[in-house]
């Protein structure tokens, strides 16, 4: 194929570098500097896509980010497959492989296009109204079919192999947009000494200036400005970078694309970078987007915005057609007509929807001999895969035909409905918008952040004025409100000042003769929303523009209605006979253009997705085949299966070892907080429910921490290691919560207390040795420690050494057996563990995991906070009433314990449950009913909180919270099963060694 529509010279493409690329398997040539869209247009290709809902053939409407239709997929390999890219933003590289979407078997012949013929069946909201029955049909039939029939590109089939980065930055002035206003703002701010960042979504800076014919003064200004900014070390220029989100306090998110334009990115090269920029001041110079016009058949390939055609001609050296009809609602369209005419495009007709056009450009067009028709409207267009003809008519104010209907053959239809300022970011920042009569659009008014808009994004359209506006914004953002000379020769633009109304354009549907039937007139190209859909929504009683938007999906596609919102508003305003300003505007949301998931994820993928906490003994557990479970961020060994063992047999073996010999357990994840200071005991007395004054140095006590509302927050063993020092342990998951609560009371309620709180969770590793042989295992390893029951009774603590390592040794038990917990500095933990394990071999030491630990503690009726408790359980509810001091006048939660509701006799209380069949293990969460066969609305009287098979008891056991449970011990209740109910006997929650004899070995 040859680039037949590439003009002989001109444009900003590199004519010395020809690139090869393919679209739908067919090979084409383009030039360096092309986009996929411009290269395809150069080859005469207009048909790029099938539409979302009706599978209508679609071409290229625009030249930038606003493109609603020309969505393609770009493929490098199976994993590097990016769908839904706007062909107008895809930079061409050698070997680029692009594919059309949403068509089968081919783009030119698409079976799905039947939905266009069936479209009367699919009006707005059809899925709310049809396919309602049979009920199963929706899931099995309708939804899969609709899903398959409608849609955009498909997702890649393999994981994304590319690298994505995050970066934080600060600056004095962030300028969004590198067009004339943005460049002028950056120059002015930089001249004032500000640290400036300027980002632009395009590969080249210049914005609308890039669409100006080369050689004009504007071009020289552009070159000079960029050179000046480049040479300034305090200026950061970020091309290919989209500011897609505006967050509170001037935090702007930028998406920078680093490799998508390269033919051969290096392996491991960062593909995209997500910037989070905190700016002192923001200048929004985001430009304006041309509006299409709404008339029957306005979506055929070969139809284009007038300014886009100028861009293709002046920037890429491409004429998008050979014979054009231009439909104008503003003067800009004339400019496009003149330039295309000069480039050799025949202008069949300029139809102006206004009653008159006598500005600079209309006059110039007439002088050039171009035919102009005022009072014009489009009745109809023809051409299946490319526009072939347009039928124009003239209408008077009463929509009566003036003269004859004209039919013009053409292969290009240009339209310009005026320009809509891009207020997306301003609006995202919660800045206010105001309707501007002059430009017939919403423009920024009050800013909510330290931000200002400049240039055409606030309706300042003329080039010279936009540059002045940008310079003013830049200097005032840099702290200098004085006007600033931009260095732009004002005279160059002075010859073409837009008169009032010249840029106003048109919003809504073009008038049609009375009683005209007309074919589909598209308002939203990307979501296939027509004027009929909007009219239907209004007929059905939708009045709020937000409701109309959601019902018809107008403006809800990935393009966020960049080309459609104002036309939808205009149409609604025409139908309701209300001013657009009264109809109101829908909300703008981030992202401005779609952003890859990779960019959001950044480095937070795979291993870096979430921090992983491992204990110093983790490596040993891995070596010994541990199966791990996640507990918060911690990896904890759940069990250590040996060859051929499943969870059940491994846990049973581990439990038996603890009860009969000795088990070794990594309890390092236990939260540890050191409470130190003159007032440490006072602090503990005020915070924990227990009494602490009586706890002597060297002894431990099981502590219960309540919230101020009286419910259990956490528990753990607390040791007094000195008069002024407590070693407080917490649950694994509760450590940060407990420390935060302690700090809260210490700082805000009792600042007079001299107490210091330090988390020591990571400093102390904890090796639990549990079972009748545990003393014998430790005996030979410790120094300066007497392990006898006389010197070291249950619930005591001592300092000493083990294997020559300083240690804090606890005699405590969470299994009901004789037990010790060896605390050693984390760095020594693995060596000490290995030494104990080796010494224990002769005594049958067995490593056990958290699952065995759970079974062992449940056999003893020891609770786990968060399993037996759920934030509504008091200490008494879970059988810990004994731990709560009756004598202390106050502690956190005490006042609430006096509330009647917390002492009601029917509160759920901790009990044990035994099934009739000892092999049946109840599901945790099973509801307990008073009698069999009860179903809602009968109320459950309790629920199972823990349930295991106990190897020691050779039967199943369960803990449950049951209303008035302690008074029901001995009764038979009912566990509601999925199919049948099981009788369960209520027992004491302590199943094993109720006298606690094994503790006091």
């Amino acid at each position: 194929m040859t680039q037949t529509l590439r003009v002989a010279q001109g444009g900003r493409v590199d004519r010395t570098r020809t690139l090869q690329f393919s679209f739908d398997g067919r090979s084409y040539k383009g030039l360096a500097g092309d986009t996929l869209a411009s290269a395809l247009l150069a080859n005469g290709v207009h048909l790029l896509a099938r539409s979302f809902k009706y599978h209508r053939p679609r071409g290229i409407l625009a030249a930038g980010a606003e493109e609603p239709s020309a969505l393609v997929s770009v493929r490098r390999d199976a994993a590097r497959y990016t769908p839904n890219l706007r062909a107008t933003q895809v930079e061409l590289y050698d070997g680029l492989e692009a594919h059309s979407q949403n068509r089968w078997p081919s783009l030119a012949f698409d079976v799905g296009a039947i939905s266009d013929l069936l479209s009367p069946l699919f009006p707005a909201g059809f899925y709310y109204k049809t396919f309602m029955w049979p009920r199963r049909g929706w899931k099995a039939l309708y939804e899969p079919y609709i899903r398959a029939a409608a849609g955009l590109g498909r997702a890649p089939t393999e994981a994304d192999p590319d690298r994505y980065a995050n970066r934080y930055a600060h600056c004095d002035v962030l300028v969004v947009g590198g067009g004339p206003a943005g460049l002028a703002a950056a120059l002015a701010a930089a001249e004032r000494g500000a640290r400036v960042m300027l980002c632009d979504e395009q590969a080249q800076l210049g914005g609308s200036l890039l669409a100006e014919p080369a050689g004009e003064p504007a071009d020289a200004w552009l070159v000079r400005s960029i050179a000046s900014l480049r040479s300034n070390a305090r200026v950061t220029l970020l091309p290919r970078t989209t500011a897609f989100g505006y967050f509170p306090h001037n935090l702007i998110a930028l998406n920078q694309r680093l490799t998508d334009h390269l033919a051969n990115p290096q392996a491991g090269q960062t593909r995209e970078r997500c910037w989070q920029v905190r700016a002192q001041q923001v200048v929004l110079a985001t430009g304006a987007i041309e509006r299409p016009l709404v008339f029957p058949g306005n979506d055929r390939p070969g139809m284009m915005l007038a300014a886009a055609a100028r861009t293709y001609l002046n920037r890429y050296g491409v004429i998008p057609g050979t014979r054009a009809v231009v439909i104008a609602a503003c003067d800009e369209a004339y400019r496009a007509a003149i330039e295309l005419h000069q480039a050799g495009v025949a202008i069949a007709m300029i139809g102006d929807v206004r009653s008159g056009a006598d500005g600079h450009w209309p006059e110039a067009a007439r002088r050039a001999g171009l035919p102009v028709l005022t009072h014009a409207t489009v009745l109809e267009t023809r051409g299946r895969l490319r526009i072939k003809a347009v039928r124009l008519a003239r209408l008077d104010a009463e929509r009566r035909l003036i003269g004859a209907i004209q039919t013009h053959a053409c292969d290009l239809l240009l339209m310009s409905g005026g320009f809509t300022p891009s207020v997306h970011l301003h609006s995202q920042s919660r800045g206010k918008l105001a309707w501007d009569e002059r430009v017939q659009s919403f423009i920024p008014s009050q800013a909510a952040e330290r931000a200002r808009s400049a240039g055409s994004c606030r309706g300042v359209f003329s080039l010279a004025a936009a540059i002045e506006d940008g310079a003013d914004a830049g200097s005032s953002a840099a702290g200098d409100a004085a006007t600033h000379a931009s260095g732009f020769p004002a005279a160059t633009d002075g010859s073409r000042p837009p008169p009032d109304g010249a840029m106003a354009g048109y919003a809504g549907a073009l008038p049609q003769p009375q009683a005209a039937a007309g074919s589909k007139a598209f308002v939203d190209w990307q979501n296939d929303v027509t004027t009929r859909d909007l009219a239907l929504a209004l007929r059905e009683g939708f009045v709020s523009i937000e409701h109309i938007k959601r019902y018809t999906t107008a403006g809800m596609a990935t393009d966020q209605g960049k080309t459609s919102n104002l036309n939808a508003l205009g149409f609604v305003s025409q139908r309701l006979d209300k001013a657009i300003a009264e109809v109101g505007l829908t909300t703008f949301r981030m992202p401005y253009t779609p952003v890859t998931f990779g960019s959001f994820a950044g480095f937070a993928r795979g291993e870096l997705f979430d921090p992983v906490r491992t204990t110093p003994i983790h490596e040993w557990a891995v070596r010994h085949g541990a199966v791990f479970e996640d507990v918060g961020l911690w990896k904890r060994a759940r069990h250590f299966p040996q060859a051929g063992e499943d969870l059940h047999t491994a846990v049973a073996r581990e439990c038996r070892a603890v009860r009969s010999a000795c088990g070794i357990f990594d309890a390092s994840t236990l939260g540890k907080i050191e409470v130190v200071g003159r007032d440490a005991v006072t602090f503990m007395n005020r915070l924990y429910a227990n009494a602490w004054t009586s706890l002597s140095v060297g002894r431990c006590r099981y502590g219960v921490l309540l919230r101020e509302d009286g419910f259990v927050l956490d528990d753990g063993v607390v040791a007094r290691t000195a008069e002024d020092r407590f070693h407080v342990t917490t649950t694994t998951g509760g450590a940060p919560r407990v420390l935060a609560l302690m700090e809260d009371y210490l700082q805000t309620e009792w600042p007079e207390l001299q107490v210091w709180l330090t988390s020591t969770t990571e400093q102390w590793a904890v090796i639990a040795l549990q079972g009748p042989h545990s003393r014998r295992v430790l005996q030979g390893l410790v120094q300066d420690l007497d392990l006898s029951s006389a010197a070291m009774p249950h619930m005591s603590v001592a300092r000493g050494a083990i294997c020559g390592v300083p240690a804090l040794l606890f005699r405590v038990s969470f299994t009901g057996e004789l037990g010790f917990e060896v605390n050693v500095p984390a760095d020594y933990a693995l060596a000490v563990w290995e030494a104990i394990y080796q010494a224990g071999a002769a005594h049958g030491v067995t490593a056990y995991g958290t699952e065995a630990m759970h079974v062992l503690r449940a056999e003893k009726g020891y609770i786990i906070v968060g399993q037996e408790t759920d934030g509504t359980a008091t200490a008494d509810d879970v059988g810990l009433g004994w731990a709560v001091s009756k004598l202390k006048p106050d502690f956190v939660g005490k006042r609430s314990l006096a509330r009647p509701a917390l002492n009601a006799p029917d509160r759920r209380q901790l009990v044990g449950l035994l099934t009739a069949d000892p092999k049946v293990v109840l599901e945790e969460g099973t509801q307990i009913m008073q009698a069999p066969g009860q179903r809602p609305p009968a109320r459950a009287i309790g629920h199972v909180t823990s349930s295991y098979y106990s190897a020691a008891l050779e039967r199943s056991i369960a803990l449950a919270m049951v209303a008035g449970g302690r008074a029901r011990i001995g009764q038979t209740l009912c566990a509601a099963g999925p199919s049948d109910d099981l009788p369960v006997q209520v027992t004491s929650p302590v199943f094993y060694d109720p006298q606690g004899k094994r503790l006091d070995d």
């Binding site: 306090h249 909510a448 700082q747 805000t748 309620e749 005490k894 609430s896």
Partner: protein, 99 residues
């Protein structure tokens, strides 16, 4: 992400902080002497201010200190941040967000 000015450390991003609920709610010196309704109010009832709200923040991943702030709940702008024990500033100017 909000930018919050810790009275001890200066402006830091929101993710270093933990919100601590309504400010200036003192726990009674003798809770046992507080009536049932007053205690329930203390536990559960909070203002739901539209406008300037005095609230607690903690610079958890920084200095660890609690402090108070006046924030306009309609636009998330901080009017002032101040140390514990200090009264809320009457009409303090908006603090400079960047150090």
């Amino acid at each position: 992400m909000l930018l919050i000015s810790c009275p001890y450390c200066g402006a830091r991003p929101e993710l270093e902080f933990t919100h601590g609920g309504q400010a200036h709610l003192a726990r009674a010196r003798e809770p046992a002497a507080v009536g049932a309704q007053d205690w329930a109010d203390f536990l559960y009832m909070r203002d739901n201010t539209r406008g300037v709200h005095a609230e607690r923040w903690r610079h958890t991943h920084g200095c660890g200190r609690f402090f108070n702030a006046l924030r306009d709940t309609t636009n998330d702008q901080f009017i002032a941040t101040y140390r514990l024990g200090e009264p809320p500033p009457a009409a303090a100017p908006e603090p400079e967000a960047m150090p």
